[in-house]
């Protein structure tokens, strides 16, 4: 290479430095998409089953991306019709449409849903029939070590359809667990004046509580590639470090036998919302259900009117039965004692915290743990000493100790 090229090389290195900085600092900015793209659509959650009850249907509206909360569609007329001429009307109560009378979906009848909103739009579902009735056989909790989630309780549901026609299953569960406030004390601290506190006997009502949570993930399984229509599906996995199983735990598993369409609807909904992997994003798009606006084809509706055979089963288990002799899981929040030097004004080297104590007790953010005479008080977060601060102390009617 001649010297000219060498010179160029050196020159170019300088240019390059500048360039690459531009190149790699490629610009990312917020792209405003809210205002012009919002489309209002009716969201319909409608599942009727072969359980005799007042079935419920939920109508809501899509929200703008920047908005919080969901608007309920009120004032609509909702009916479920069958090909036998039955008409089941629903009336709105606190944003939920409840059947006026109890009914159950019956086999060999064709059902459809009709909705007429306040502003006159008419929506209709396609026709659905009841899926094969199929009882849950058993729900089995086992202690396992999962490769992903570690050790814990695996709760599996078993069911069997000898006719081999159920195939597609959706599950929901309600879990209820007993909570014992770990730092509940026989005495509680009450504020008696601007700068005075006193100990009183504590109510036992704040020691034991029950909390119930409903699943909100979409739980689906199918048996199409199995010889027999036999479900053995994990509906729930609870880590052995989760406080909810510390004492006694109950789960009510609800099984909805789906048809392929309703199964696929939920499956797609689940896939769209699951986070995209490093490797490849998900294909986004509008999720089509089986409900259409028949008064205006450009109006959208999201949702699936499903007629499913229903079955549910509840089990209970105690921690000490599944994990005999093992230490209980840590409580969900840190229950370390916090020290308050009970004085007002200035002190050295430990500052006075009498005011803070009174403020916290008044605000019900802490509960009394213990004290050293009247010079030091120790408290814990309220959740540690009073379970009613976050759950209910009313024992559910189904609860068996």
């Amino acid at each position: 290479m001649d010297s000219k090229i060498m010179k160029t090389l050196i020159l170019n290195k300088i240019t390059l430095l500048l360039l690459l900085v531009f190149m790699l600092n490629s610009c990312t900015e917020t792209y405003v998409l809210q205002s012009n793209t919002y489309e209002e659509a009716l969201v319909v959650e409608a599942t009727i089953t072969n359980e005799l009850k007042k079935h419920e249907i939920k109508l809501s509206k899509t929200a703008r991306l920047e908005d919080d909360g969901i608007a309920i569609e009120i004032g609509a007329s909702v009916v479920v019709k069958s090909n036998a001429g039955e008409i089941f009307s629903f009336e709105e109560k606190d944003g939920i449409y409840i059947a006026e009378s109890a009914f159950r979906a019956e086999p060999n009848k064709i059902y459809s849903l009709e909705i007429k909103t306040k502003d006159g739009k008419v929506y209709q579902s396609n026709e659905q029939t009841l899926t094969t009735p199929n009882e849950i056989e058993s729900i089995v909790p086992t202690v396992v070590t999962d490769s992903k989630e570690g050790r814990g309780v695996q709760i599996k549901v078993n069911s069997y359809d000898p006719t081999n026609t159920s195939k597609y299953y959706r599950y929901e569960y309600d879990e209820t667990y007993k909570i014992i406030a770990p730092k509940w004390r026989g005495e509680k601290l009450v504020v008696t004046g601007p700068q005075s506190v006193a100990l009183e006997p504590n109510s036992t009502d704040t020691r034991i509580c029950y909390a119930t949570k409903t699943s909100n993930e979409i739980l689906l399984t199918n048996t199409t590639n199995l010889q027999e229509d036999r479900v053995n599906y994990q509906v729930r996995f609870i880590s052995d470090q989760n406080y909810i199983i510390t004492h006694r735990y109950s789960i009510l598993v609800k099984q909805y036998v789906q048809n392929l369409e309703s199964y696929t609807f939920r499956k797609t909904m689940k896939e769209i919302s699951s986070s995209a992997s490093v490797l490849s994003p998900k294909q986004p798009g509008f999720l089509d259900g089986n409900i259409k606006c028949i008064s205006n084809s450009s109006e959208k509706a999201i949702g699936f009117f499903e007629v499913s055979s229903f079955s549910s089963k509840r089990i209970f288990f105690n921690y000490k039965d599944l994990f005999p002799g093992e230490p209980i899981p840590p409580y969900y929040t840190d229950c370390t004692d916090e020290e308050y030097k009970y004085c007002f004004g200035f002190s050295m080297p430990i500052p006075c915290r009498g005011k803070a104590l009174i403020d916290n007790i008044s605000a019900n953010t802490v509960t009394y743990s213990y004290n050293i005479e009247s010079s030091y008080y120790y408290t814990v977060p309220v959740e540690c000493g009073d379970c009613t601060s976050f759950s209910s102390n009313i024992k559910p009617s189904f609860w068996i100790d």
Partner: protein
């Protein structure tokens, strides 16, 4: 030679000899397989005449002479003996003077002097026989000067009894460097209305009048050649021509060296790599594929997209061939640079309309890119130093004039720069590529030619600090051309291509993994050509290709990982094709090309094929059985006829209309649910559950040249329908999916458009402007709800950009300075937006719009470049030029992608990324030695 001629002329002018007195002398003589020299010696002894001649003339005459002559005059004897040679004779006083080609005339023709009135007024052949031709009689005419063009080529032997007016002169035009015949070279006779061009074998035939003819050989890609022919009789004359090595031309984009109005194929873009160097491009890189996208009908989804969309076709519908081997990923750096080394590439032919029957396997287009041969005469090369890459290529003769190698290499030095930066983020980034090509060429003999190419490209980059992406192309190609005879030629081609990518995901958690994908294909192909007659040229051939795909593996790299290793089962298939086509010249005006291709595809085991329940959509939940196939067992076959028809009709010499109908089939599909093609997209073969794609296109074009070919205008329209186009279900996850067919939809495609192109090839201002209006739509209307997208109606595809205007203009101020600009406007591509949220079953979900309902902002870009050429001294170490260019002069923030992220508060937000949001200057130094 020159001296002899002069001597003859002197002889002629001093015309006071006594002629032919002794020529009546009778002799008897006998020859038996004697050489001409010995015959002459014999006659010398027998007849006491002395012969005068240049021995080289005699030695050039290899035929042996036999004959028995008795009592024959010397005149008659010599007539007979020299009959088959180019020699003439004159007998002067016991002396016999032999002359090559020319006859020595014993008297001047009556009309030799212009002022002398001609004795006869006869026309035609009579006249020409009476007026012998003297090749210097044109001296006084302006058209020819002996001092300027010294050498005269003699065709045939001068024959005093010449009767014909015109003689047939034919020969081959060959490339001096490569020895290969050059097709479509235009030959014109100066000041006469005679012209022709060479056929695919480089053969030309001219009807020339007797006498001096100055022929000019002109081609845009070659140096002009002027030859002076002295035509006495029918004869042959081969010409060697040289490519224009001078790379200092204006931009020349030409269509196959032939006028666009002339070829039968519509929708062909030919790009001559030499011609594109002035176009301002990103970071000073010459890029053949980027130039392609400035032509109507060829688009990319976005800046930095690796794929092309030709006439509304998907990215996977382009057959990209480098020396006949498939190049799976033709791009570096996610599409910022093409993987084709501009210094070793010779040209690219892009078939977007009519596709010749010898190509197949992709629906929309063929990018046929060929590599140069090395210079077989001397070591030579070129190179460039740019801001991001450096490039060097050189050719080396192995056996002079016969075989050579060409080597080209290119690499980035961005890594070194990144490492030396202070910024922590950049320091840990990686980005780089290199590619290399080696081509061997051996013109074994007249009938055999061998070419071999090896190519490798490698890319690596990291987008986030924890994942390193790598991908590479490897291809090999061997081609043996053989000429059986004048009418039959063939080529046997073997190619092998491999494309693979790999992701090293090295995060801090224990689930680091290594992900990989690989496709390998080998093809053996036989192409035959048969010149049936002047009207019919038949081509036929057979090809067979074996695919092997490893669709993906994911292996944890940490021994304690909880991630389970996944290996998706390999895919294998054989794709074969037979073709036959006839180029039929019905008349001077109408040329048709009838092609027929039959392709056949067999998916092979070993495979486990899912059987889905009848009457239900393909879904994980509808798998009822899995069928196992043994290795090489045929799993599923597909096949079909692919007619390829093209026709051209001349309204006038510079105005033609062309029409085409093409059907194409494709058995391999790219799975990509990114909006733009990315290196991590995977190719999937057709099988039991994935049907092959097919397309039919009709096209019509009008072509007009104006102002003596200074301007070329073309207007082309097309309508294309395709079947089984791949798309994806809402929520599809493609990578590492064992039942990937359950995520796929196969729908109908519809594309149509009008393409207008105006080109000016010559002059100070040159370049082209193209405008396209086109639509590309797709319909996914399966039987089941999950197989419908947008209610089963036609919707815009990801690359539907109705308006597309591009202009590439160059202005040459002086021989050394020129300015070039590149302007691009495109409608923004469609996108699916999140349009709201909703609550279902107690969880919040994002609501997306209908597929591709919205569009991103329009794309507008202007680039400007200045080329400064080194001085034009011939004796210089290296010829060089500088290219200074600014990319995106307007600084417009063209979106590269728009994506959606969920922030901490659970709100979805749109983000727009631009790659080059500010003007990007660059400077490149190019040299040639």
């Amino acid at each position: 030679m020159k001296k002899i001629i002069l001597a003859l002329i002197l002889l002629l002018l001093s015309s006071h000899f006594t002629f032919a007195q002794d020529s009546k002398e009778k002799i008897s003589i006998e020859f038996k397989n004697a050489t001409l020299l010995s015959v002459i010696k014999d006659i010398e002894t027998k007849s006491s005449h002395k012969f005068y001649f240049d021995p080289t003339w005699i030695n050039a005459h290899k035929n042996l002479i036999s004959g028995n002559y008795s009592n024959i005059t010397l005149d008659e004897l010599l007539d007979k003996v020299l009959n088959k040679t180019d020699l003439n004779f004159i007998i002067l006083n016991k002396k016999v003077v032999l002359t090559l080609n020319s006859t020595i005339h014993t008297d001047l023709p009556a009309n030799y002097f212009a002022d002398a009135p001609p004795e006869t007024q006869n026309n035609g052949s009579q006249n020409s026989s009476e007026n012998p031709v003297f090749y210097q009689q044109y001296d006084s005419l302006n058209s020819y000067s002996v001092t300027k063009k010294a050498s005269v080529i003699f065709i045939g032997k001068e024959n005093k009894e010449a009767v014909k007016k015109n003689y047939t002169v034919s020969g081959y035009i060959k490339n001096e460097e490569t020895g290969k015949p050059e097709a479509n070279i235009f030959i014109k006779v100066k000041n006469k209305n005679i012209s022709t061009s060479t056929d695919p074998d480089g053969l030309y035939t001219l009807q020339l009048p007797r006498g001096i003819n100055v022929i000019e050989i002109k081609s845009l890609s070659h140096k002009d050649v002027t030859k002076t022919l002295m035509v006495y009789d029918d004869g042959s004359f081969d010409v060697n021509i040289n490519e224009k090595s001078n790379q200092l031309d204006e931009v020349v984009i030409k269509k196959k060296g032939q006028r666009t109005t002339e070829t039968v194929i519509s929708g062909l873009v030919s790009i001559d790599i030499e011609g594109i160097k002035n176009i301002p491009l990103i970071l000073g890189e010459r890029d053949i594929l980027k130039v392609a996208t400035t032509f109507p009908g060829i688009k990319t989804t976005g800046e930095g997209s690796a794929g092309f969309n030709v006439r509304g076709g998907k990215e996977d519908q382009n057959l990209i061939l480098l020396d006949n081997a498939v190049l799976y990923n033709p791009q570096h750096f996610l599409g910022f640079f093409s993987a084709i080394n501009p210094y070793t590439a010779k040209k690219a032919d892009i078939y977007k309309g009519s596709i010749p029957a010898d190509f197949g396997g992709r629906l929309s287009s063929v990018f046929d890119i060929t590599t140069k041969n090395g210079n077989p005469e001397k070591f030579s090369g070129e190179g460039a130093v740019g801001p991001v890459t450096s490039n060097l290529s050189f050719g080396l003769p192995i056996q002079k004039g016969k075989s050579s190698v060409l080597f080209g290499a290119r690499a980035t030095y961005s890594d070194w720069i990144l490492k030396s930066l202070d910024d922590e983020n950049l320091k840990n980034s990686e980005a780089g590529f290199y590619d290399g090509i080696l081509k061997y060429n051996n013109a074994i003999n007249k009938n055999n030619n061998l070419e071999a190419t090896l190519y490798y490209s490698h890319d690596r980059f990291s987008i986030s600090s924890d994942s390193l992406y790598k991908y590479s192309n490897r291809l090999a190609s061997v081609k043996w051309d053989h000429t059986f005879n004048e009418k039959n030629k063939g080529a046997l081609i073997f190619t092998n291509s491999e494309y693979k990518f790999n992701i090293d995901y090295d995060s801090d958690d224990i689930n680091s993994f290594d992900f990989g994908y690989k496709i390998d294909e080998s093809q053996l192909q036989l192409k035959m050509n048969y010149l049936l007659n002047k009207k019919h040229t038949i081509s036929y051939g057979i090809a067979s290709k074996l695919y092997n795909i490893s669709p993906g593996y994911q292996h944890p790299t940490n021994p304690e990982a909880t991630l389970v290793a996944t290996d998706i089962a390999k895919e294998k298939a054989l794709e074969s094709a037979l073709y036959l086509s006839d180029s039929y010249k019905l008349s001077d005006k109408l040329l048709i090309d009838l092609g027929l291709r039959y392709s056949y595809f067999a998916s092979l085991g070993e495979a486990n094929v899912n059987i889905y329940e009848d009457g239900l959509p393909l879904n994980d939940a509808t798998i009822i059985d899995t069928k196992q196939y043994k290795n090489n067992e045929v799993v599923k076959t597909y096949g079909g006829i692919e007619p390829r028809l093209a026709a051209r009709y001349f309204f006038a010499e510079d105005f033609s209309i062309k029409a085409g109908y093409d059907m194409t089939r494709q058995y391999i599909h790219l799975l990509s649910n990114n909006v733009t093609q990315s290196p991590t997209d995977t190719w999937k073969l057709s099988d039991t559950n994935v049907r092959p794609q097919s397309a039919q296109q009709i096209s019509l074009g009008l072509y007009k040249n104006l102002n003596d070919d200074e301007y070329e205008i073309s207007l082309e329209g097309y309508y294309k329908k395709s079947k089984n186009i791949l798309d994806y279900k809402v929520g599809a996850q493609l990578l590492l999916n064992e039942n990937v067919e359950t995520e796929l939809l196969q729908g109908e495609g519809k594309a149509y458009g009008i393409e207008l192109l105006l080109k000016k090839q010559i002059g100070k201002l040159n370049g082209w402007i193209g405008y396209t209006y086109s639509r590309s739509l797709i319909k996914l209307n399966g039987e089941f709800s999950e197989e419908k997208v947008n209610e089963g109606k036609y919707f815009a595809s990801n690359f539907d950009k109705p308006h597309d205007l591009s202009a590439v203009l160059n202005y040459k101020f002086t021989k050394r300075y020129s300015l070039s600009t590149n302007f691009l406007y495109q409608t923004g591509r469609p996108i699916t937006f999140p349009i709201g949220t909703y609550n279902y079953g107690g969880a919040e979900y994002t609501l997306y719009s209908d597929r591709n309902k919205y569009r991103i902002p329009d794309y507008v870009r202007l680039d400007i470049g200045i080329n400064i050429e080194g001085n034009h001294k011939i004796k210089k170490l290296a010829h060089s030029f500088w290219n200074i260019s600014v990319y995106n002069v307007l600084g417009r923030n063209n979106p590269y992608s728009i994506f959606f992220v969920t922030d901490q508060s659970g709100k979805i937000k749109g983000q727009k990324t631009s790659i080059f949001s500010i003007p990007v200057p660059s400077i490149t130094y190019n040299f040639k030695f």
